[in-house]
Symmetry: C2
Subunit: 218 residues, 2 copies
DNA sequence: GCATCCATGTAACCAGTTACATGATTTG
DNA sequence: CAAATCATGTAACTGGTTACATGGATGC
């Protein structure tokens, strides 16, 4: 069972990796930055958080540390600040349940992100959105898999159209044509990403994303 | 609840409108002609058929009386069915259960097709695919609604990007950019369809919105 | 005569939705 | 102090999925 393909949990973990947040904030942030890609309703977000908490992937923390200008280094193990921070979020804090990601959560995030069995459009977009947390081999593999999948789909559609023994209704033809165009455009985009990825592999040093990843794993 | 916007049922009815079919055939046909747009699994198709039958929207018929225009290789099956069938139930010669659409089904199809509350991408594509069964006013309304929705989405995304107080991860930016491009392309396509629809309507005295837009374009 | 398609269905599960229920805090 | 917004959650439902169970027909 590829039960690890829960996109929402992946996104929650990905956002909590950046900074501690409570549910409401999480959703706001989600729609603000990823709104075009995906969205979540309260009825899915809170249960997702509860599931993650039950797994030990996230845990409630007392307060949110100030938005770090510099990536934190020593946040592990030590108690988070018990004191109120003067310049914190726009609203005061009570009743809020601020979540932070745990080591288990980080591991789960990586596992979900690297889980190859994801195939659908949205899942791909989400994984790609967090692709700076993957190593470039995995990234490349994901891109190539996606390309192959689309290619296969297009080919099979063309095959079906050729051997078709029936007349398509006019609007079906229209929609199909548009979908084919979209597929081509997606394909071109992915090919471009693959090319970029490949060329950047040949100059492995000074890769921002890699160094970020290294930082994350510390 | 039964009035829901069930895409699968809509498609089933739409296909049965063309010709009588049994479940297996239905699915084959579905993936052959609409494969890029949607797909169904056995576990969803057969229950959908059962639901439609329970509603009286489809019923099992003996053989396929069918559409004479489209040459089919299924005449052999028809012969056999006629041969074996005398007092038997609607369940055909083999174990096949050939379905036909009823008047109720036709009405349901129209109702679903004209149901405005549909908003998501797939639902739109499917409705558009069967848009030759809508009258052109409804078609136009659907197209405009879709255009407005995408427009709104793009605007809101742009708004969020402007006021953003956080740094987007690099790949998020990348994916977002692609989604924005896709939205633009969709938008252009829909505008084109709208224009075509308007020009083919040629009933200037009735539709206020059309005349307004025509004025704008002058 | 055995594999492979054709053909129909059920059961368990899954990720998500809408609608509901509740209450705290801020602001005009 | 009322309205809006912030904030968290539950319940019932929806529209699917995969895996399973079964068996007839075809073809090699």
């Amino acid at each position: 069972m590829a039960t690890g393909t829960n996109s929402l949990e992946l996104v929650v973990l990905g956002l909590l990796k950046e900074q501690d947040m409570h549910g409401y904030e999480l959703k706001k942030r989600m729609t603000e930055s990823l709104g075009l890609i995906m969205h979540a309703s309260w009825g899915s977000l809170y249960p997702a958080l509860a599931r993650l908490e039950a797994k030990g992937a996230v845990k409630a923390v007392e307060a949110r540390p100030a938005i770090p200008n510099i990536p934190m280094t020593g946040s592990l193990g030590g108690e988070r600040a018990v004191f109120r921070l003067s310049g914190e979020g726009p609203r005061g804090s009570r009743n809020k349940k601020v979540y932070g990601i745990t080591d288990i959560g980080s591991a789960l995030f990586t596992a979900m992100l690297n889980n190859d069995s994801e195939i659908d459009e949205k899942g791909f977009a989400i994984r790609l959105a967090f692709a700076n947390h993957m190593d470039s081999e995995k990234r490349l593999k994901m891109l190539r898999d996606r390309r192959d999948l689309i290619l296969e789909r297009v080919k099979s559609s063309r095959r079906n159209l050729e051997k078709k023994r029936f007349t398509l209704e006019p609007y079906v033809e229209l929609v199909l044509e548009h979908f084919r165009l979209n597929n081509s455009s997606d394909l071109a985009w992915i090919e471009e990403l693959i090319a970029k990825e490949e060329s950047s592999m040949q100059t492995p040093e000074t890769d921002l994303m890699v160094s970020q990843e290294v930082q994350d794993n510390l």
